[in-house]
């Protein structure tokens, strides 16, 4: 069954310190240069400094940057790619910030309603109350549980 994560996104805080964090990323180390063609890949995790996000509190962005240095003879090209962005410190110091984070953070797994047969089941949880169908399905489940 296919699953994906649904989250109510709160993008409010993410944009602000990105420039700062990218600046930190560019300071990562250079690759070794050799005469022949050589590709060196360095992956670094870099943190932006904590930044006051207006009245919402402090946030801090962490980037994972992959730096690929390709050397052919004397020519060197460098490519940097951001492979992930995360916000490890959430603004929490005002009631409004806490409210926004509570709205944003709960994660729910989302899938389509499926219908399965009741084989091998011991019990059924449902809002069936006193219906005869419930007793019948329960007995069937008990028997199926026996066979499982």
């Amino acid at each position: 069954m296919r699953k994906h994560i649904t989250a109510a996104a709160s993008a409010i805080a993410i944009a602000l310190p990105a420039a700062n964090a990218v600046a930190a990323a560019t300071r990562s180390t250079a690759a070794t240069v050799t005469p022949k063609k050589k590709v060196v890949t360095v992956t670094k995790t870099v943190k932006g400094t904590q930044i006051q996000a207006q009245e919402w509190g402090y946030i801090e962005v962490t980037l994972v940057v992959k730096k690929t240095t390709t050397t052919v003879g004397t020519k060197t090209t460098v490519a940097r790619k951001i492979t992930s962005v995360s916000v490890p410190i959430y603004p929490n110091h005002t009631n409004r910030s806490v409210f926004i984070n509570q709205q944003a953070l709960p994660m729910l797994e989302h899938e389509a309603l499926a219908a399965q047969f009741t084989g091998g089941i011991n019990m059924i949880s449902g809002a069936s109350d006193s219906s005869d169908a419930f007793i019948q399905s329960l007995q069937a489940a008990l028997l199926a549980g026996k066979r499982a």
Binding site: T6, P106, I121, M123, I124, G126, A127, F134, L143
Partner: protein, 252 residues
């Protein structure tokens, strides 16, 4: 055929619902089984809103004062009040009538929790107590297998929407498909919309059942956000559009 399973199984109709006791320990005393069903009958006689001489009926008629009620009645009503606050009023003993208490929504789960405590005290370690689809599980169905609990499919009576392979858990489901519109949003006095069922799992059935009732009454718009922030309880909500939203720990 069932005789080859260890333990004992018994179903009785009490409180207007089938109550199933399924014990899988090798040795189960008849007195323990009898004690569990005697307990449910006492709960029915004390809490039923259908029996004129129950304590709840007498409280509602004003001929019994709360200070004279049984301590269990006081405890249940107190928990109902706290759950009402905790669920923003969506679990409400006055949902059906402003003038009358109806704690039935908590009594079933609470009675099953106490039945589980009776079984624990008797030294039993592998059992299920299921009251009309809301249950407490402990241990294993057979030594090599956990309990397998199907969550009723809301639209196909002979199917299940999900199977939980589980142990030591309470499972409660609230939904609309069994008796028609019997759960009302206490704020609007109308049936909730866009939602078919809510299943809650956790350590305590009374709480899980109250949460399931409250979340279902909230309707599709609010239920999933509310269940996502519960502590110690997990949720699976089936919406009318055929989507199923589960908290990350549901079924694990």
């Amino acid at each position: 055929m069932l005789g080859t399973l260890p333990g004992t199984r018994r179903v009785e109709q009490i409180m207007g619902m089938p109550i199933v006791l399924d014990v899988r320990d090798e040795h189960v005393g008849d007195d323990v089984v009898q004690g569990v069903f005697d307990w449910f009958r006492w709960v029915d006689s004390t809490f039923s809103t259908y029996k004129d001489d129950s304590e709840i009926s007498r409280l509602n008629r004003g001929i019994l004062a709360l200070r004279d009620a049984h301590p269990d009645v006081v405890e249940v009503l107190d928990r109902c009040e706290r759950l009402c606050v905790e669920t923003d009023g969506y679990f409400d003993v006055h949902a059906a009538s402003a003038d009358e208490l109806d704690p039935s929504g908590l009594v079933k789960g609470w009675a099953v929790d106490r039945a589980a405590a009776l079984l624990d005290a008797a030294g039993l370690r592998n059992y299920a107590v299921n009251a009309a689809g809301d249950m407490r599980l402990r241990g294993r169905a057979v030594p090599e297998l956990h309990w397998r609990v199907g969550i009723q499919h809301p639209l196909e009576p002979d199917r299940v929407a999900r199977v939980l392979d589980t142990t030591d858990l309470a499972v409660a489901t609230s939904g609309e498909y069994a008796r028609g519109a019997h759960v009302l949003d206490p704020h609007t006095h109308r049936p909730p919309s866009g939602i078919l069922s809510v299943t809650i799992t956790g350590p305590d059935l009374a709480t899980a059942d109250a949460y399931a009732t409250a979340a279902f009454a909230m309707g599709a718009g609010r239920a999933t956000h509310w269940t996502a922030r519960l502590h110690g309880y997990e949720a699976m909500t089936i919406l009318a559009d055929g989507s199923v939203l589960s908290t990350p720990g549901f079924g694990s």
